[in-house]
C-alpha cells in the first residue's frame, strides 16, 4: 500500500489544485490524505520577481485539494537562493 507514513516529520512540498506551493513539516495525515503541515510557508512564484515566502504556521489541508506531496532535500533546498528564482506560477487545475 502506498502511504505518506515515510514523510512524517520530514519537510515536504505540497502542490494544491489551485496551483499553490506550500512547504512545511508533515505532522500527520489520514486515509483521505488530509494533511497536517507544521511551520508551513507558501512559496509564491512570479516571472518578474524573486520567490516570496509567506509564513502560514499550522495548516490542515483537505486531501481533495492536494495534487502532490514530495519530500524536500533540505540540503539542496537551503543552497537555493529563492530571491534569484524567476518562474511562472503553476496555474490552477481546469476541468473540461
Amino acid at each position: 500500500m502506498s502511504s505518506l507514513q515515510g514523510y512524517v516529520d520530514r519537510r515536504v512540498l505540497l502542490v494544491l489544485q489551485d496551483g499553490r506551493a506550500i512547504v512545511g513539516v508533515l505532522a500527520g495525515f489520514d486515509q483521505k490524505s488530509n494533511i497536517v503541515l507544521a511551520d508551513s510557508k507558501e512559496r509564491v512564484y512570479s516571472s518578474d520577481e524573486g520567490v516570496e515566502e509567506i509564513p502560514l504556521g499550522l495548516y490542515l489541508v483537505k486531501g481533495e485539494m492536494i495534487c502532490l506531496v514530495g519530500e524536500l532535500d533540505e540540503e539542496i533546498d537551503k543552497s537555493v537562493d529563492l530571491a534569484t528564482i524567476r518562474a511562472e506560477p503553476i496555474p490552477p487545475i481546469r476541468y473540461g
Binding site: 494544491l16 489551485d18 505532522a27 500527520g28 495525515f29 489520514d30 488530509n34 494533511i35 497536517v36 507544521a38 511551520d39 502560514l56 504556521g57 499550522l58 495548516y59 490542515l60 489541508v61 483537505k62 481533495e64 485539494m65
Partner: protein, 124 residues
C-alpha cells in the same frame, strides 16, 4: 497525528477557513465532525477577491467545500502531549511489565500475584 484530532482540539480556538471557491471565513470553532463539517461563531467572511467583508454571528460549513484550515501553532504541542498521555494510560491499563518481552509470568492467567504488573511508565 490525525488531522481530525487536531481539529477537535481546536474547539473554541480561532481559525481561518478557506473554501474551494476562494472565500475565507475567520472565526472561533464551535464544533466539528468526522466529515470536517464545522460550525464557527463570530465570523468574518471575505469574498474570493478579498475586497468585500461580511460579519456573521454563526455559520455552518459543509466539510466537502473546505480547501484548508489554518489553526494556532500552539495546538500542535497540545495534541502531541494529549496523545502521549493517552498512550501511557493505554499501556498501563493493559498491564505492561518490566523487561518488555520474555516475562511470561505477568501475562495471561487470571488473578495471581503479578496481575496487572507494574507498568513501565515513560522514560527512566
Amino acid at each position: 497525528m490525525l488531522p481530525l484530532s487536531l481539529l477537535t482540539a481546536a474547539q473554541n480556538k480561532p481559525m481561518l477557513v478557506e473554501l474551494k471557491n476562494g472565500e475565507t471565513l475567520n472565526g472561533h470553532l464551535v464544533n466539528c465532525d468526522n466529515f470536517m463539517n464545522i460550525t464557527l461563531r463570530e465570523v468574518y467572511q471575505t469574498n474570493p477577491e478579498g475586497d468585500r467583508f461580511w460579519k456573521l454571528k454563526e455559520c455552518y460549513i459543509r466539510g466537502s467545500t473546505i480547501k484548508y484550515l489554518r489553526v494556532p501553532d500552539t495546538l500542535l504541542d497540545v495534541v502531541k502531549e494529549e496523545q502521549n498521555r493517552a498512550r501511557d494510560v493505554g499501556r498501563n491499563a493493559r498491564g505492561g511489565h518490566i523487561g518488555g518481552r520474555g516475562a511470561p509470568r505477568a501475562r495471561g492467567g487470571r488473578g495471581g500475584p503479578m496481575r496487572g504488573g507494574r507498568g513501565r511508565g515513560r522514560g527512566a
